[in-house]
Amino acid sequence: MPRPGLLSALAFTAIGSLFGALLFGSFPISALQVFDSIVFPVPGVVDDVIWKLRLPRALAAFACGGLLATSGVLLQVLLRNPLADPYILGVSGGAALGALTALLFGAGLAVTNLAALAGALGAIAIVFALSFRAGDWNLHRLLLTGVVLSAAFTALISLILVLAPQVQLKGMLFWLMGDLSHAGSSAIAWMLLALGLAAFMMGSGSLNALALGALKARAFGVPVGGLQAALYFGAAVATVAAVLLGGSIGFVGLMVPHALRLIGVNDHRWLLPASALLGGSFVVIADTFARAAWAPQQLPVGVFTALLGVPVLLFLLSRKP
């Protein structure tokens, strides 16, 4: 498919997914009512459900998915490893450890988020300090440091889960699996998504060159050192913003870029916006399922990103090229 066509198709998917998120839920609202409420908002229950409950959550879901998918693209270029996903550098592990520690001590939402932020920043600082020594980026060291650190976080998280009293366990599990029911305002996440996308799309030529390897990129005159640092911090910031909004929603950052590559989108000038759109729509759809499938029971969105995403990716992988 021509790239502009693909982008418009994805933009329609995004709008459709957001409309679906407004339509479905435990409170029955018809498509006509949704239209009405969008065009002529009249104070009432329907308006409250749409404007105060469903829309903020759908926007948060979209920002979350867009950030995770973008972060996945950036890390796959940086580490030149197809298995790289936003959580490989230990950012989510650090955030989860911070959040669960706060939850263990019965902290409220604001404190939990602050603790998650502190944990994520701590993880970024440790990985960066250990792997960026003497000004040389050793990508294997970066990858291994992230993986080793993640293992340590996983161990500590398991410890907290074992020690935690029964009442707090469910909240912790939701946090670990990714859950958007407590998502606050997504304004900052949207801003970061827009800024990050714009910045890295401007540098998409450099990303394409770097995908051929650092030496090759330097042969073209790409400022490789600075670009790698920008990729690392860009991916880290995007992941932190997404994790603070929705917990560790898995699979989006890994699956979305690969799904697009498998249908032939390799050029980062298209891959970046396409990933953001597809990742956003994907999480919105998964979150709509999470809210509506067993309504009024709410399920963690992370379960559905995996359940919906795995068959799609397996199908694309098994397809003959």
């Binding site: 450099s206 090759k216 042969a219 005159g221 390799n266």
Partner: protein
């Protein structure tokens, strides 16, 4: 076009080349000869600014390497790497277009100059029929030509080619050498070719020999391509058939 002054290069504790003075003028085609591990690739990387020198200064087009801004250096010099480990998922045309990085000014799509450079580079290496094919499905020789075409699309003034003829069939070896000679003698570029085939080395203007122990020899091809010099360089017996630029050198078995 290219100057190296008092250049010393080393890999680990091994000094491969000591106090090299080299001046490559526009329109000059150089062959770089030496045994495996004698520092040919390291020298090319150093001249391209991809590897640090122990001591010494490299200037390209009159300007020290360190003074270049990033994209500018991609227009001044280009290097054909001997190995490329990375898989590439796009088509051959996409791959060749990556060479336009130092010239690209547009965020989306390519400028007319880029499309022209692509068409020229594909035609130069017989790649037009393969343009839409996935790079991953190309054969070894086709990939080598794709790398050459990418460098042609990059269009730098100084060409540093590390074993440009590897994997190529006979016709494409000749064609590639012809393309290099056209670029150098026709458009005033300069080129350094790492070669193992002495017949092709004889078609170059000048020769640089690296002995791998710090010694080097540089001079006119006719002067340096002599059996006794080659025997000294490679450590095996060599016999010459014919003379001048059409001489053939055969190892004595």
């Amino acid at each position: 076009m290219l100057r190296a002054e008092q250049l010393t290069i080393a890999v680990g504790a091994r000094t491969l080349c000591r106090d090299l003075d080299l001046a490559v003028a526009p329109g000059e085609l150089w062959a770089v000869l030496g045994c495996n591990g004698s520092g040919k690739t390291t020298l090319l990387h150093t001249l391209a600014g991809l590897a640090p020198a122990v001591t010494g200064l490299v200037t390209v087009a009159g300007k020290p390497l360190a003074d270049y801004r990033q994209r500018e250096i991609g227009r001044a010099r280009g290097i054909l790497l001997q190995r490329e480990d990375q898989e590439y998922w796009g088509t051959l045309a996409d791959y060749v277009l990556l060479g336009r990085y130092p010239h690209a000014r547009r965020l989306f799509g390519w400028a007319a100059a880029d499309e022209e450079a692509l068409a020229g580079a594909l035609a130069a290496f017989d790649l037009v029929p393969l343009a839409a094919q996935a790079y991953g499905t190309l054969s070894g020789g086709e990939r080598q030509r794709a790398r050459l075409a990418q460098l042609w699309a990059q269009d730098p003034g100084l060409l540093l080619l590390d074993e440009p003829l590897q994997h190529l069939d006979l016709r494409h070896q000749l064609q590639t050498l012809e393309r290099v000679r056209e670029a150098v003698h026709g458009t005033g570029k300069a080129a350094l070719l790492v070669l193992h085939d002495l017949t092709y080395a004889g078609r170059c203007d000048r020769v640089l020999m690296l002995y791998g122990d710090g010694r080097y020899a540089a001079g006119a091809a006719a002067e340096l391509l002599q059996p006794e010099r080659l025997e000294d360089l490679y450590g095996c017996r060599v016999r010459a058939y014919g003379d001048g630029p059409h001489a053939h050198f055969i190892p004595v078995i």
